[in-house]
């Protein structure tokens, strides 16, 4: 029983972390329609900026610098790079952000070296929030989860219940009309991109401390953020949350299940017991990394607009 509770909890928290990283992309890719390949780079930059600032401003100051710094970088990227290629279509955006992805990675290697850096949760925050059976549950994980929930609530309320949100949603749906009504659509787009990048920066600043901060962290997360947005449904913040939680819990559950592919197929009667025990003796847990992509495939096949997406896409 304890194990099940811990597993579920782990899944939920991991899902929330995924949401934290991909919520920014929901805004940028899902709502604005910019294929931002460099989103995971913003996550990495957040971690490195925070790592640099921690020595001067302390841990919380570092997280703040990471968030705001990346928001600024995002703003600059949108204002001075992406804006110029937007009129040429999605391919140009994709190529540009793809280039940015490599540029950021090599820049980080140039300044911080190719190895992981010593960025970690400060001693004062390393304590157990509670224990379940033998397992103690680290406080910082709970904090990551709580931050993600606050983030979700803030984005959701901002978009749904405020005037700014109304204008932003309108600007995404029909930029020309909004411009005609006297709003500065370019500024709205820049601001949205900056907020999206800043959210990734915040996720990086916190995730980098809890997990690892290395130049490969962007590559490792590169596509999973897209999976979350696509599975959740383009432009839907709620969908992204559901997708993140689904992936988190699925990945966790699959590790606990001690069965192999052979056993599953043999039970259905597709293969013989012999094939099942040698050729197909692949444990289900080894698919934990591929599972999100399988989920995306299924969603694209049976519900192309995503779990909570509208039919506009």
């Amino acid at each position: 029983m304890d194990t099940v509770v811990v597993a579920l909890l782990n899944g939920v928290i991991y899902g929330l972390l995924l949401f934290m990283i991909s919520s920014g992309l929901t805004l940028i890719f899902g709502m604005m329609g910019i294929l931002n390949f460099a989103h995971a780079s913003f996550y990495m930059l957040g971690a490195y900026l925070a790592f640099t600032a921690v020595t001067i401003f302390g841990f919380w100051g570092g997280i703040l610098v990471g968030t705001l710094g990346v928001a600024l970088i995002g703003f600059v990227c949108e204002r001075y790079l992406l804006r110029h290629v937007r009129s040429f279509g999605h391919v140009q955006e994709l190529l540009l952000t793809f280039g940015l992805f490599f540029a950021f990675e090599e820049l980080v290697k140039l300044f911080y070296g190719p190895y992981a850096v010593a960025y970690s949760v400060p001693e004062s925050l390393r304590f157990a929030a509670f224990t379940i059976g033998d397992a103690s549950y680290p406080f910082f994980r709970v904090l990551i989860g709580a931050t993600a929930i606050v983030m979700f609530a803030a984005i959701f309320c901002l978009l749904r219940f405020t005037r700014i949100g109304l204008v932003v949603r309108a600007a995404v749906l029909n930029p020309d009309m909004v411009r005609a009504l006297g709003y500065n659509v370019s500024a709205i787009f820049s601001a949205m991109f900056a907020v999206g990048a800043g959210l990734a920066g915040l996720a990086g600043a916190m995730g980098g401390a809890y997990y690892t901060t290395s130049p490969n962290m962007a590559t490792e997360l590169g596509v999973i953020v897209f999976v979350v947005v696509v599975v959740g449904g383009l432009g839907s913040v709620g969908g992204a949350l559901i997708a993140s939680l689904l992936i988190g819990i699925l990945v966790n559950a699959v590790v606990y299940l001690d069965v192999t592919f052979g056993q599953i197929l043999a039970t259905i009667g597709l293969v013989s017991q012999k094939t099942a025990s040698d050729l197909l003796a692949v444990p289900l847990s080894s698919t934990a990394g591929v599972l999100p992509f399988l989920l995306m495939l299924l969603v694209l096949m049976f519900r192309p607009q995503g779990i909570a997406g509208d039919d506009r896409a």
């Binding site: 103690s136 994980r141 690892t212 490969n216 490792e220 590790v255 847990s285 080894s286 591929v290």
Partner: protein, 412 residues
């Protein structure tokens, strides 16, 4: 001033010619390693080891006056890159290749060398594999023209289990948590095979995707449920860090034993989570006594850091190569077959003990140090307050495992 230098240069070359020595044709060595891309950290590890050995060798006269010229080719971590750089290096005149990458890269290097040797039997090339631990290189793919200068998961697991058993730290319940590729599978197989010898039971196994998983807590909970005394893992890089951090954060007290904890940056990044971890190391200054300390100090002065992880393999490769080259009779060009024989017969003294190359499968026979991460270790790493304290130094005879039955080396 300039003219004096010119004069001196002219005098020296005249002297060299006059002495009847062969013209100073460099012995060309192509060093294939990733210097860009996600595997760039590998190249960054090996690069300082090249000059550290080559410079003094050349200063001492090289091979009868011919310097060793090691050129680093960046394969960008891809097999395509490796194949391209191989062709480039062949065109540049290199016939001695050092493959310093991952197992897939080394497989590519080996395939390239084999193809070249089939087409050019009179002008063969030789491959020195620095850090690829896949069993196949000394198993079914063992080749007269290729040498391996590192261990296999079998050698490391055996060393870890042997020492930990000796010191009563192993326990009877073992868990095998492995990265899901050849290295992890081989380590898992090794853990199974050695169960009887060292009197333990494998109570659980799990494999994880490589560099795809951020959150290892489900794996850690699975380990906890099996109640093991020791967890064996061949995981490396960020995977290893994440495993250790997840274990430490959730209060799992099990010992971890692996081989890549001493990669640069790992201790700093893992922090206190690394404490108590066991590692089978190639080099540990403290274990090497005075010679080890002197070696560490010299390397540190030259490069600014201690030799750790695969840097030691880089040093071993270069040391054994230069020593074999030195023993060859003078001539205008290195005879690759003579070089191979020299590598096979060579015994090299290394601060940890004697190094030799087993002729049957071209597997390096090397001493290993089993160490534990402690705060009171003599040499702190990565600017942390932690380091590797040697538990026991195993001699090359003690670490050796038998030649694989799959190795059928064809000798010309």
């Amino acid at each position: 001033m300039k003219s004096i230098r010119l004069f001196a240069l002219a005098a020296v070359s005249a002297l060299a010619l006059g002495a009847g020595a062969a013209k100073a044709d460099p012995v060309k060595v192509a060093y294939l390693t990733p210097k860009t891309g996600p595997l760039a950290f590998i190249g960054a590890m090996y690069e300082p080891t090249v000059d550290f050995v080559a410079k003094p060798f050349n200063a001492a006269g090289g091979w009868n006056g011919n310097p060793l010229q090691v050129t680093i080719y960046d394969d960008a971590g891809t097999t395509q890159g490796a194949a391209d750089r191989f062709k480039q290096a062949i065109a540049d005149g290199a016939r001695i290749f050092i493959g310093a990458g991952t197992s897939p890269l080394a497989s590519q290097n080996l395939a390239d060398v084999q193809r070249w040797n089939q087409r050019n039997p009179d002008d063969p090339a030789v491959l020195l594999i620095v850090g690829a631990e896949g069993l196949n290189f000394t198993g079914k793919d063992c080749n007269y023209y290729s040498f391996r200068f590192t261990t296999t998961p079998y050698i490391r697991q055996n060393a870890l289990a042997k020492v930990m058993k000796d010191k009563g730290m192993l326990g009877e319940r073992i868990y095998s948590l492995q990265p899901d590729y050849t290295m992890g599978r081989e380590m898992e197989a090794a853990s199974d095979e050695n169960a009887k010898t060292y009197g333990y039971e494998v109570v659980g196994k799990a494999r994880h995707d490589v560099f795809k998983i951020r959150d290892f807590s489900p794996f850690i909970e699975k380990v906890r449920a099996a109640k093991p005394d020791t967890v064996f893992t061949a995981s490396s890089g960020s995977d290893l860090l994440l495993i250790l951090q997840a274990a430490s954060a959730s209060g799992l007290k099990t010992k971890f034993a692996g081989m890549f904890l001493d990669e640069p940056g790992n201790l700093a990044s893992a922090g206190a989570a690394a404490l108590g971890g066991y590692s089978a190391q190639i080099f540990n200054a403290e274990a090497g006594g005075e010679a080890g300390e002197a070696y560490r100090a010299a390397f540190n002065t030259a490069t600014g850091r201690d030799p750790v992880a695969f840097m030691s393999n880089g040093l071993i490769t270069m040391t054994m190569l230069t020593s074999a080259v030195k023993s060859l009779p003078a001539g205008s060009k290195i005879n690759i077959k003579q070089l191979i024989t020299a590598l096979e017969n060579n015994k090299v003294e290394w601060p940890m003990g004697t190094l030799s190359m087993r002729a049957q499968d071209h597997q390096l026979q090397l001493p290993l140090v089993v160490s534990i991460v402690l705060k009171d270790a003599k040499h702190k790493l990565d600017g942390t307050d932690m380091g590797f304290q040697p538990v026991k130094l195993l001699s090359a005879e003690e670490t050796s495992v038998p030649v694989s039955a799959e190795c059928k080396m064809v000798r010309p």
